[in-house]
């Protein structure tokens, strides 16, 4: 009994460590990327090519005074960042990042590279936890007793709620194709070949669903085209204007972890997780390592996509945002799982 707990513990520590590690790297990538896109150098003073810059920022945030302004609802003010961080971190346990069949460590079977192996409602768990993210934004906005914060909070919550709808509907297509909610099944269902030569990746089966999911993922994480929450030009810093040092850091980190999770989800749901098209992976530890490598590569690519899109596309106006969400993406998502239904019924999709 205790061995299981130990195994899950190790995995958990590993996952959290990796996630926390990626945050400074992402910051660095973001800064360098944006500099690259904007044809400027980016941070290169601290450490070779500015690699140490994020760590220095982290230290800066730690050292700064954790200012809690008066007139602020203290409990809400403090609660908001914690919720954000908790939610972001707890999202990843359902994501399978490597092959998980038949591996043993110290002759006890570790069920593959997934923190919660038998969480057979995988995706639903992710949606459940993700839906709590809204609270952090809304409470931050309301708690900081500041007009801009409140506006940012309201905008952000409206945005997440409407785009989650589209996201959920698009995922329905994937679940129909995979036949189960468990993400591992989703990944395994994407192995093999479809229509003779194409790998059975969901992105290829239901491209529309894939695109909608990616766009919704951007909206979910308030990344640029949809970052009306802390639209610098209008709302100073949106819902976390009043925050300083550690609280701000919490928000900042949760956003990036959320980004990583979204990237992971995109790869798992639509791009075959650790599947390499046309090549079947060898078994045992070798296969596991290889699948982990493939999975990481895909995640990195999508992370870069986030950064890339952020520094290229302009921000939406709020009504355009809403219109896109409700009037375009929602119907398309429904169309998508209609297409999947028809395909399955007619046998194209077995």
């Amino acid at each position: 009994m205790w061995v299981d707990a130990a195994v899950i513990g190790i995995k958990l520590v590993a996952v959290v460590g990796v996630l926390l590690m990626t945050v400074p790297i992402m910051v660095w990538v973001e800064r360098r990327g944006s500099a690259l896109i904007q044809d400027r150098l980016g941070p290169n003073r601290v450490g070779p090519a500015g690699l140490l810059q994020p760590f220095v920022d982290a230290i800066k945030l730690l050292i700064k005074e954790n200012l809690i302004p008066a007139g602020v609802d203290k409990l809400l003010f403090v609660l908001a960042p914690t919720i954000a961080l908790v939610v972001a971190l707890s999202l990843f346990i359902a994501v399978p990042f490597a092959v998980d069949d038949g591996l043993e460590l110290v002759e006890t079977p570790i069920d593959g590279f997934i923190v919660a192996p038998d969480l057979n409602i995988g995706i639903l768990y992710i949606f459940a936890i993700a839906s709590l993210a809204v609270y952090s934004i809304v409470l931050a906005g309301w708690g900081s007793n500041n007009k801009y914060a409140l506006l940012g909070g309201i905008r952000a919550s409206a945005q997440t709620i409407s785009y989650r709808l589209a996201m959920t509907l698009s995922v329905v297509g994937v679940i129909m194709a995979a036949g189960s909610l468990h993400l591992t099944q989703v990944v395994t269902s994407q192995s093999g070949v479809w229509l003779g030569f194409l790998p059975r990746w969901n992105f290829l089966i239901q491209p529309l669903g894939g695109i909608i999911f990616i766009v919704a993922a951007f909206a979910e994480t308030n990344r640029l085209p949809f970052d009306l929450a802390e639209a610098d030009s209008e709302l100073v810093a949106g819902y976390h204007t009043e925050y300083s040092s550690m609280n701000f850091a919490a928000f900042f980190m949760s956003k990036y972890i959320h980004m990583v999770t979204s990237a992971a989800l995109i790869t798992v749901l639509f791009f075959g997780g650790w599947q390499i098209p046309w090549i079947s992976l060898p078994g045992g530890w070798m296969g596991a390592g290889l699948s982990l490598g493939v999975f990481s590569a895909k995640v990195v690519f999508f992370l870069w996509l986030f950064v890339w899109v952020r520094w290229t596309l302009p921000r939406f106006r709020f009504d355009q945002l809403m219109a896109l969400g409700w009037k375009i993406m929602l119907p398309l998502a429904v169309l998508n799982f209609l297409w999947v239904g028809v395909a399955m019924a007619s046998g194209i999709l077995t």
């Binding site: 969480l119 057979n120 949606f127 936890i129 839906s131 809204v134 919550s157």
Partner: protein, 165 residues
């Protein structure tokens, strides 16, 4: 082991419920309720109904309470009067009713034979599969009807809250 987890989840749920009812600031009530719903979701998970747990979290804490939060923010309710300020008469009789009804259920529970069900149901029991089949099979009509009800509710909400031009 699971019993221990259950008891903690139950305790958390009860504490949050009490806070949700007693606290003077509506926002805190809502947050306490979110906590309670999460604890209840844990209870569901422990019992094995993980699909329902997920649904509970998504619908209740994810949607309904956000609605509540919006309503409270819209009405700008900072602090409202506490519990039991509606007159002693109401307080006394209220307590009687509470103890009576709550007690009734608990008493009923105590009387039932608490055999611990060591049952084997395989994949059938709590997961999404049987519920999905039931929803689209025997309970299809109810499922569709609920969608009609939700549509009606939306229209009603819009109409009621609309500022009458």
């Amino acid at each position: 082991m699971t019993a221990l987890i259950f008891l903690t989840a139950a305790a958390i749920a009860i504490i949050f419920a009490v806070v949700a009812v007693v606290h003077r600031s509506p926002i805190m009530n809502v947050l306490a309720l979110v906590g309670m719903f999460l604890a209840i979701a844990m209870v569901f998970a422990i019992i094995g109904m993980d699909f329902l747990a997920a649904i509970q979290v998504i619908v209740y804490s994810g949607a309904i309470l956000v609605l509540f939060l919006f309503a409270i923010m819209l009405l700008d309710l900072r602090r409202v009067e506490g519990i039991g300020e509606g007159g002693v008469f109401q307080l006394l009789l209220g307590c009687i009713a509470v103890i009576g009804l709550g007690g009734a259920v608990v008493f009923a529970a105590a009387r039932l034979s608490p055999e611990t069900g060591a049952w084997v149901t395989g994949a059938e029991y709590g997961t999404a599969y049987p519920i999905g089949r039931a929803l689209t099979g025997s309970h299809l009509f109810a499922f569709e009807f609920v969608s009609v009800v939700l549509a009606a509710a939306i229209i009603a909400a819009v109409y009621l809250a609309r500022r009458d031009r």
